[in-house]
């Protein structure tokens, strides 16, 4: 037996190119359908896990899928906004814990997520270094953001303007990075988290400027009376919030009308969830309440159907590959008839010849299986990340 294995191995090693081609063909034959299935299954599991972990989502009426993708995966396509009053209503209902989200802005390609501290507890996010944002203008970044931009606790990021030409609108805010999160394997790794009010400052709904009552601001005062001070255009507005100027920041208007992208609602119990859902069934209500898991389920059902057709096609391709490989082997045996005849003449049994051929086939398939396993493992390690990057920001 050892002799046949040795001869089989040496034959394959000698005919390197032919062996490599065979191994490659068999590897692909095994890997493609397996990887396709794994990619879809694992990514779907990751997507649905995140959706399943988000009980209810409140947002503006419109595309449910866009709402879910934006709120859960910080997708660039933004749904219409809702007022902060919606968050206050959900919180005030006593039926669910409410977590606000405002995901309009981005910083160097990473989504800025305006939210509350409850978000971190809700998603089970832990700090790798530093602390959570504490003052207006501070941010906490996901592990992916830290790696991509080479920034950590103590560093800074600047919010990106929405358009170069709208200088009076959203303008860049320099944010201090106070902490970096542990890798979570979710879209949170690629996000920049700020206090909701910081996101509103980026929006331009809040700002900080020189104290008009101070002597240093005289040049910025247009007019002054006993009850009011009017500033002129030279008034310096801060584009970085520091402990020294944070008290100068303020918001104008009623925050109930300030924008949000969505509200995550975590019901106290099933009954509370049902009651909450009932409140948003009324056609007259401006907002919609969706169950992210159900919304994604519809999408994934389509994906799985397509996957099945793809896998079927790959299986048929594999059958064709097997046929070709079999032909190659048979032709190879034909060419080696003389060699086998010599071995028989020398005293080798038919069993030995059969074992010799079988060992070659086994080595090729074993090598292919190993290679396919490694490739599949690699795909599995990055499948979620890959698909989530496709879906997310």
């Amino acid at each position: 037996m050892r002799g046949a294995l040795k001869l089989g191995w040496r034959y394959l090693a000698y005919h390197r190119f032919k062996t490599a081609v065979l191994v490659a063909a068999v590897t692909l034959m095994i890997f493609l359908p397996a990887a396709t299935r794994l990619l879809v299954t694992d990514s779907a599991a990751a997507l649905t896990a995140r959706a399943a972990a988000t009980p209810l989502l409140v947002g503006a009426r419109g595309s449910e899928l866009e709402l879910v993708l934006n709120a859960l995966y910080f997708h660039a396509e933004r749904p219409p906004e809702i007022p902060h009053a919606v968050f206050e209503a959900v919180r005030g209902s006593g039926l669910a814990e409410a977590i606000p989200l405002y995901t309009r802005f981005q910083s160097r390609g990473s989504p800025i997520v305006g939210t509350s501290l409850d978000y971190f507890t809700f998603r089970g996010l832990e700090l790798a270094e530093g602390r959570l944002m504490g003052l207006l203008g501070e941010c906490v970044i996901g592990a992916g953001v830290a790696r991509r931009h080479g920034v950590g606790a103590g560093g800074s990021l600047v919010s990106s303007p929405e358009t170069v030409f709208d200088l009076a609108g959203v303008y860049p805010l320099k944010m201090k990075v106070t902490g970096v999160l542990e890798p979570a394997g979710t879209p949170d790794d690629e996000a920049v988290f700020v206090d909701l009010r910081t996101a509103w400052v980026i929006h331009g709904l809040g700002h900080g400027h020189q104290d008009l009552e101070q002597a240093g601001a005289r040049g910025a005062v247009l007019s002054r009376s006993e009850e009011s001070i009017t500033a002129n255009a030279s008034l310096v507005q801060y584009n970085e919030i520091t402990p020294d100027n944070v008290r100068e920041f303020h918001f104008h208007g009623d925050t109930s009308g300030f924008p949000l992208s969505a509200v995550i609602a975590v019901p106290q119990d099933e009954k509370s969830g049902t009651l909450l859902r009932g409140r948003y069934r009324d056609e007259g209500v401006q907002e919609q309440l969706v169950v992210p898991y159900a919304v994604l389920g519809d999408l994934l059902e389509t994906v799985f159907t397509v996957q099945n057709y793809v896998v079927l096609g790959l299986v048929m391709l594999s059958l064709a590959t097997i046929a070709v490989i079999t032909l190659v082997f048979l032709l190879s045996q034909q060419l080696r008839r003389g060699e086998f005849f010599t071995l028989r003449r020398m005293g080798a049994s038919r069993g030995f010849i059969a074992l010799l051929v079988a060992s070659e086939i086994t080595f090729v398939f074993a090598g292919s299986l190993l290679l396919a396993a490694v490739m599949t493992w690699v795909v599995r390690a990055y499948a979620t990340k890959f698909l989530l990057e496709l879906v997310t920001f």
């Binding site: 509350s116 409850d118 089970g124 504490g134 003052l135 542990e182 500033a231 490694v374």
Partner: protein, 302 residues
Amino acid sequence: MKRFILFSALCLAACTGEAPTPADPAAEKGRPLVIASNYPLYFFASELSGGTADLRLPDIEGDPALWVPDGEQVAELQAADRILLNGAGYESWLDFVTVPEDRLLDTTANLGERLLAQEETTVHRHGPEGEHSHAGTAFTTWLDPELAAEQARVIAGALSALQPQRVSDIAARLAELEARLAQLDRELRQAFDGLQGAPVIFSHPVYQYLQRRYGINGRSLHWEPDEVPGVQAWLDFQNMLRGHPARLLIWEGEPAAETTGKLREAGVESLVFEPAANRPEQGDYFDVMASNLAALRQSAPD
């Protein structure tokens, strides 16, 4: 062959993974962490908890109204099981500090119309938003022992929720604290009655609740105890005296000797009545009030 099987098994094992379990801070600690935003709340909480809670008062340098917590203080606030707020606009830092909202406890939230508006606001205007002001509410509620007792009751409720096993002990301590506040109330009323309705001036508008509680005929300046008022300030003061002939100026801190001298020349005596907002160097809230009472009694017109 064996190596292949082992390697494949390792590959499969590596494919599984478990999601991290979020930490539960309350469960990990033996005592609940309670942070008070000012000294009176801290004092009331410590009287009620009897040392069974981890009570903390942030180390604030300078005017508490201008406090901006540093990184460590922010982290401490975020880790607290409860943050005791005075409310009534005292904690302006809430406008720019991120804390878990469900841990905040506003001890004056139930006072409603019993809260007083802050006098003298400034309106400013810039940009397209138009006029807006930074007006607010008077926040020194603890100077009114009756309101202070209300705040203590709210704190007792929070501590009882955090430590259900100590409900009866907290109730007993609350009763004791209420009794002491009631006694303080009687003594303050007696001392202020000694003024017999005479007009007084306050160095700063921080005594609104004291004024209301004891019917003090008072008006306020904006004088710092350690600063000698300038010419314009003296003129404004004298203008005020014409319409409000006070003979007593109540300071929140020891005034400069020059200032008291000038006031005496104007026929106005000085008296220090500490608002007790900050932790005293010696003694506690009641000690500070006792010292205030002594000063009041001493300055009462014969």
